[in-house]
């Protein structure tokens, strides 16, 4: 009987963790949600060839699939626009970087449209160019993995859109 209790307690532990996780996330507001590459689990779901856990120092990822599942099923945390933006960035990363360096191009237009910020395309391009000048000048960029570069890009997009177009920033 004692053994059964211990077994039941062990089985219940992950559920307790999930409940706690959900509660914490529910307190978050839009715009301050998790990074989709690491916390929504879409990186691993969409691009299984990339070793996300190894590529990123990601505590939440290390918690296991419950955290990923709960983040995915939480629309206000990992909403559709966030996932689409993350997917767009990692799928088109080299050309997006080229467009940012050039200051224009169809990939910046695509990014802006994906975020629903088509009207602010030029301002986003300009903001990203400024932000990326510092990113590329940093020595770490040359040795960064694709996952790390995508994360850097995502964070830059988030910061720039917050300054340029508030309506876009809320969604990210």
């Amino acid at each position: 009987m004692k053994k059964l209790f211990i077994l039941a307690a062990l089985l219940a532990l992950p559920m307790l963790a999930t409940a706690e996780e959900n509660e914490t996330q529910a307190k978050k507001v839009q715009g301050s949600g998790p990074n989709p590459f690491t916390e929504c689990g879409i990186g691993a779901a969409l691009f299984p060839e990339i070793h996300w856990a190894a590529a990123l120092s990601n505590v939440i990822w290390d918690l296991g699939s419950t955290a990923v599942t709960s983040a995915l099923s939480s629309p206000e945390m990992c909403n559709e626009k966030k996932k689409k933006t993350a997917k767009f960035i990692i799928e088109t990363l080299p050309q997006l970087e080229q467009d940012i360096a050039a200051g224009n191009g169809q990939y910046i237009a695509g990014l802006a449209e994906t975020m629903g910020c088509a009207g602010s395309q030029d301002a986003i391009a300009s903001g990203l160019r400024t932000s990326y000048t510092g990113v590329v000048a940093n020595g770490d960029y040359a040795t960064a993995t694709k996952a790390e570069r995508a994360t850097t890009m995502y964070n830059a997009v988030k910061t720039v859109t917050a300054n340029v177009d508030g309506s876009c920033a809320v969604a990210l």
Partner: protein
């Protein structure tokens, strides 16, 4: 015999029971105001087509859709009438009490609903439930046209030389954020084995993989083809009526939940994609004389049926890069190559001195190399080196004002179109002359692409034959002259030094053939493979050299089981309809050391889109042989 009689009896009893059942249900509902319309001949045909039923020789039905849960009736997969009744029943219930479950079912089957509305007195357009998800993801009213996209083969991957086909929904200009829409419809297999493994080939040929339709973001999907997989894309805007567009959009929505068996040769992406257009237009577009259907055949069928409105070429990263690189001056090309030859310490300073045009081109070249590494092998060290160089170029670009960074332009070559390409198979008939005797030669070949056929813009000189048979008739005797199982050659004329690209020319073939035309008793079954280099001397002339070997199934007077093979030659595009290939082949037994030199030349003259003449002559130092063949191309 007794078993057959029993089976027939059983089927008769089942048929009678079915009729009784249908009549009972029909009578029951007929008494209500929501009667079940009879399945007239016309409606029955449309219902069978829409739901992928196939009549079997035993008189019953089977379905191309594998998953039972696609259907509403328990026996709906094989019983079209039960499925019909089940669906009408849902419409009746929804009309009566408008419950959410029935609304969801109706929204799962918009094409069925559209088909039945004209036949129902009690269920009209205004009675359709509001299908939020369908409306949100399709925005049907704003789809102005549908395009067929054709993707050429993967970069350097023979197994994909078939190409790929998909559909794209084109929205009216007032629809915002079009790059964010899931506008393309793809059909593909859920492959669980690694490409090239025996299981992959076996399952691909025998229907071992499940396949389904998926909607994708067209912007990302197209980018994936052109920039990651390095494949050229062709877009054909189809001439469809609004009703036909509606049919395709609605039915493809229904098929999201359908699973099919994937057969690489004939029930593939080409078949399933064109099937949708075929169902919508009622035109036979998937016809083929063989047991295969190539994606490139689709464009020809669509053209024949007058369904192609507009053709757009979307070049791959490699095509645009090569074209732009060729437009550089000699000095600029030297500067370009120098960047890659410099040490990492010097590269950064050197990049600052380069023009914007060169910075863009170097970045493109690095992206091409990254894409190649992603497709083929994972070489972390090489990838890191490429990323380091990318950072150098991006850094140099970001230090300059954006206004000073003008991209190099890409000029599409005029006059070349996929629609002028010959159909996919050919029968050639003519004469063969050797040693003072003349005979007849008859040849049949699947997939007509060889070194002398019309190429797509940007396409390298290549050969892709997936089966050919040749017979010779001499003095009333018919003898097999050559049988080819597969024959692929890629003459790579990349203008960059191979130390930068690691690209080579190569060929591989499996066939039963003689060494040359002059030798009649030296036929062997064998596998041959060669590797080498090629160069383009100008727009119309390319030269190549390949060396390798052949494993033979038996000895001949010239060689034992292995022979070393080499060939060198050139291909000259004399004009748009005439091409000449000439060269020297060498065959030697490595132990005997007895090289045989064969000098040869072939002239190809296109008479029409479907006919050509091939004149061939060769000499092995002792004897001359020649053939003259008239080719008739067809699908």
């Amino acid at each position: 015999m007794v078993t057959t009689m029993k089976t027939m009896k059983k089927q008769l009893v089942r048929g009678l029971l079915f009729l009784v059942c249908v009549c009972t249900i029909h009578t029951a509902y007929a008494k209500t105001k929501y009667d079940i319309p009879p399945l007239t001949e016309d409606l029955r045909k449309q219902w069978l087509t829409l739901n992928h039923y196939k009549h079997t020789w035993r008189g019953n039905y089977q379905n191309e859709i594998n998953n039972e849960d696609y259907f509403l009736a328990v026996t709906g997969q094989i019983d079209p009438y039960e499925e019909y009744l089940a669906f009408v029943n849902v419409l009746q219930r929804y009309r009566t009490d408008k419950n959410k479950e029935d609304a969801a079912t109706i929204c799962r089957f918009p094409a069925r609903t559209t088909l039945l509305i004209p036949h129902l007195k009690w269920f009209k357009k205004k009675h359709r439930p509001k299908c939020k998800e369908f409306n949100k993801l399709n925005n049907l009213k704003k789809i102005k046209s549908i395009s067929l996209l054709f993707a050429s083969g993967y970069f350097d991957s023979p197994s994909s030389y078939f190409g790929h086909a998909l559909l794209k929904f084109n929205y009216t200009d007032d629809v915002l954020n079009q790059k964010a829409l899931d506008a393309s419809l793809n059909y593909g297999a859920d492959v669980t084995d690694s490409e090239g493994s025996p299981f992959y080939i076996l399952n691909g040929l025998t229907g071992g993989y499940q396949a389904n339709y998926k909607r994708n973001n067209n912007f990302i999907h197209s980018h994936h083809y052109t920039n990651t997989q390095i494949r050229d894309l062709w877009e054909y805007k189809l001439s469809l009526t609004p009703a036909q567009i509606r049919y395709i959009v609605e039915h493809s929505w229904e098929l999201r939940n359908a699973q099919f068996s994937y057969y690489f040769l004939n029930d593939n992406c080409a078949h399933r994609i064109i099937k949708l257009v075929e169902m919508a237009t009622g035109k036979n577009l998937s016809k083929t004389h063989g047991f295969w259907l190539l994606p490139v055949q689709l464009t020809q069928h669509l053209q024949q049926q007058g369904l192609i409105g507009e053709e757009t070429y979307i070049p791959s990263l490699k095509t645009t890069f090569t074209e732009k690189y060729r437009q550089l001056s000699k000095e600029e090309q030297k500067q370009f190559i120098r960047f890659f030859d410099e040490t990492p310490q010097i590269q950064e300073a050197y990049a600052q001195t380069l023009s914007a045009k060169l910075l863009f081109l170097i970045l493109n070249q690095l992206d091409l190399q990254v894409a190649k590494l992603t497709i083929s092998k994972k070489d972390e060290e090489a990838l890191n080196n490429l990323n380091r160089q990318r950072a150098v170029i991006l850094g140099a670009m970001l230090k300059r004002p954006a206004a000073q960074l003008e991209r190099p332009s890409f000029k599409k070559k005029e006059g070349t179109t996929l629609l002028n390409n010959k159909p996919s198979s050919v029968i050639q008939a003519g004469t063969i002359h050797r040693k003072k005797t003349t005979g007849a030669l008859l040849r049949y070949q699947i997939a007509n692409n060889d070194l002398l056929t019309q190429r797509l813009p940007g396409q390298e000189i290549s050969r892709f034959i997936m089966g050919a048979a040749e017979v010779e008739v001499q003095k009333g005797n018919i003898s097999p002259h050559k049988v080819t199982l597969i024959d692929i050659a890629n003459i790579n004329t990349n203008p960059l030094p191979s130390r930068l690209t690691k690209e080579y020319s190569w060929s591989i073939n499996i066939d039963y053939t003689a060494r040359n035309l002059t030798c009649t008793k030296c036929k062997t079954f064998g596998i041959e493979s060669k590797l080498g280099k090629a160069a383009r001397l100008n727009d119309s002339l390319a030269v190549y050299g390949l060396t390798g070997g052949r494993l033979h199934h038996k000895r001949t007077d010239h060689h034992r089981y292995v022979s070393l093979e080499a060939e060198t030659g050139g291909v000259w595009d004399i004009n748009t309809t005439t091409k000449l290939k000439a060269g020297v082949d060498i065959s030697v037994d490595p132990i005997k050391g007895n090289p045989e030199y064969l000098t040869h030349g072939t002239l190809a003259l296109d008479i029409t889109k479907n006919k050509d003449i091939r004149l061939h002559i060769e000499n092995n130092g002792h004897t001359t042989a020649a053939t003259a063949l008239l080719g008739l191309y067809f699908n």
